[in-house]
């Protein structure tokens, strides 16, 4: 059996999860990654996506949807700081559509901006990420 490590998921308003897990799949900004115990110290920003926990003790939730934030991976411990996070089972089509609509509006705003549109790509990626997350959470 793999060694367990401490996993914490905190949002600004409360601590959502604090459990022992074997591995965590993190939707990093540069791509997905899986962190296990004794992973090299790493800090990464997150893109909207799903955090999956493997080998969770007890009946805790195994997957969370996050809209962004960052992860601090440090040896025996993974801490995820997410601005908005919720168990995947609580995600509804309305919530996702709301987020996507928000991202689209930001994309349009970036397109219309006069500064050469550096924000367009970022905003477009956000929309794409959210749509992918919508597909995988709602099945």
């Amino acid at each position: 059996m793999a060694t367990k490590m401490q996993f914490d998921l905190v949002s600004p308003e409360r601590r959502l999860a604090s459990v022992m897990v074997e591995a965590v799949q993190i939707p990093g900004a540069d791509g997905d990654m899986t962190a296990m115990a004794d992973h090299a110290p790493l800090i990464t920003t997150l893109r909207p996506g799903i955090v999956r926990l493997d080998g969770v003790e007890g009946a805790a939730e195994k997957a969370y949807f996050v809209t962004g934030g960052f992860a601090d991976v440090a040896g025996p411990k993974v801490t995820l700081l997410a601005e908005q996070a919720m168990p995947v089972s609580e995600v509804t089509a309305e919530i996702m559509d709301g987020l996507i609509a928000e991202a689209r509006a930001a994309q349009d705003k970036a397109r219309n901006a006069t500064d050469g549109g550096t924000g367009v790509d970022t905003a477009g990626k956000l929309v794409a990420d959210l749509e992918a997350a919508r597909a995988s959470t709602l099945g």
Binding site: E13, L42, T44
Partner: protein, 292 residues
């Protein structure tokens, strides 16, 4: 001597005042507990955020490419004061202490020849500052219809502040709020949020340098700093909410006690007057009987 009827009315009115202040005190106590819980729950996020950012700031901070939110604009000519107060009164010196602190800061900055802009959060501070600083107002955030403070409220204020910063409206931003110490003591606090400031950690700290950063140190920091601003504002809002309820609780406790004292005094006066009236009547009867 006030007549008996008047005294009775006064006692009744003070009694109902006492009932109201007592009720307000109890409501404040309940809200205080909730506000404290919220502040407690928000702490892990804020602490982690602070730790990661200060680690990063140390390693990136002094390079040329440091983000403007950290390095500043290179000037400190225009200051933005974000004054956070309550939406409601009847909470003792809560609003006044913040406003007093902000006023002092305005004076200091003006003496140094800086330009001051004021963004108010909460109605009460705006009302108090309007008298002499209305010309410096650049905006107001209304939280009166917010039932439960959420991160979204802080994010709204943060994006307001950050938008102004990006537009070059100011160089330095400071938030004013009351830090919750206990029910009887709240400390008016000023914290500089832009450019970001960190308590310098011990020189021998080993975190920062050991970490790998993805995509890169600069990119992570750039992503984190705006969130850091929002988090600081959120923490301040929560502290403020707890302080407000604490201040209201002790103010209402005082009011309740004063009302009690007043009732006691009035009751004694009432009884004395009543006694005097009875004595007078007796004297009249007795002297009437003696005359016969």
């Amino acid at each position: 001597m006030p007549n008996l009827k008047d005294l009775k009315n006064r006692i009744a009115s003070v009694k109902s005042t006492r009932k109201i202040t007592k009720a307000m005190q109890m409501v404040a106590a309940a809200k205080l507990r909730r506000a404290q819980d919220a502040a407690e729950a928000a702490r892990p996020y804020a602490e982690k955020m602070e730790a990661v950012m200060s680690g990063l700031a140390q390693s990136v901070g002094n390079s040329d490419g440091a983000p403007r939110l950290l390095a500043g604009t290179g000037k400190s000519d225009v200051h933005l004061l974000v004054v956070m107060t309550a939406e409601r009164g009847l909470c003792g010196g809560f609003n006044s202490t913040i406003v007093r602190k902000a006023r002092a800061q305005v004076e200091t900055l003006r003496a140094q020849g800086k330009t001051v802009k004021i963004l108010t959060v909460g109605k009460k501070g705006r009302e108090q500052l309007k008298r002499d600083h209305a010309d410096k107002f650049v905006g107001h955030v209304d939280l009166s219809d917010v039932k439960r403070l959420g991160y979204a409220d802080a994010a709204r204020i943060a994006s307001n502040v950050l938008g102004r910063f990006d537009a070059g409206e100011f160089d330095v931003a400071t938030i004013f709020f009351n830090r919750f110490q206990s029910v009887i003591s709240q400390i008016p606090t000023a914290t500089q949020i832009i450019p970001a400031q960190f308590d310098t950690p011990d020189a021998g700290q080993d975190s920062g340098s050991l970490y790998d950063y993805e995509p890169s140190e600069e990119a992570v920091l750039e992503d984190l700093l705006p969130r850091g601003v929002a988090t600081q504002i959120f923490t301040a809002l929560l502290e403020n909410a707890a302080s407000e309820q604490g201040a209201r609780m002790s103010a209402m406790d005082n009011a309740t006690r004063n009302a009690g004292d007043m009732i006691e005094r009035l009751t004694i006066e009432y009884n004395r007057s009543r006694q005097a009236v009875i004595t007078n009547e007796l004297i009249e009867i007795i002297s009437g009987a003696e005359a016969l």
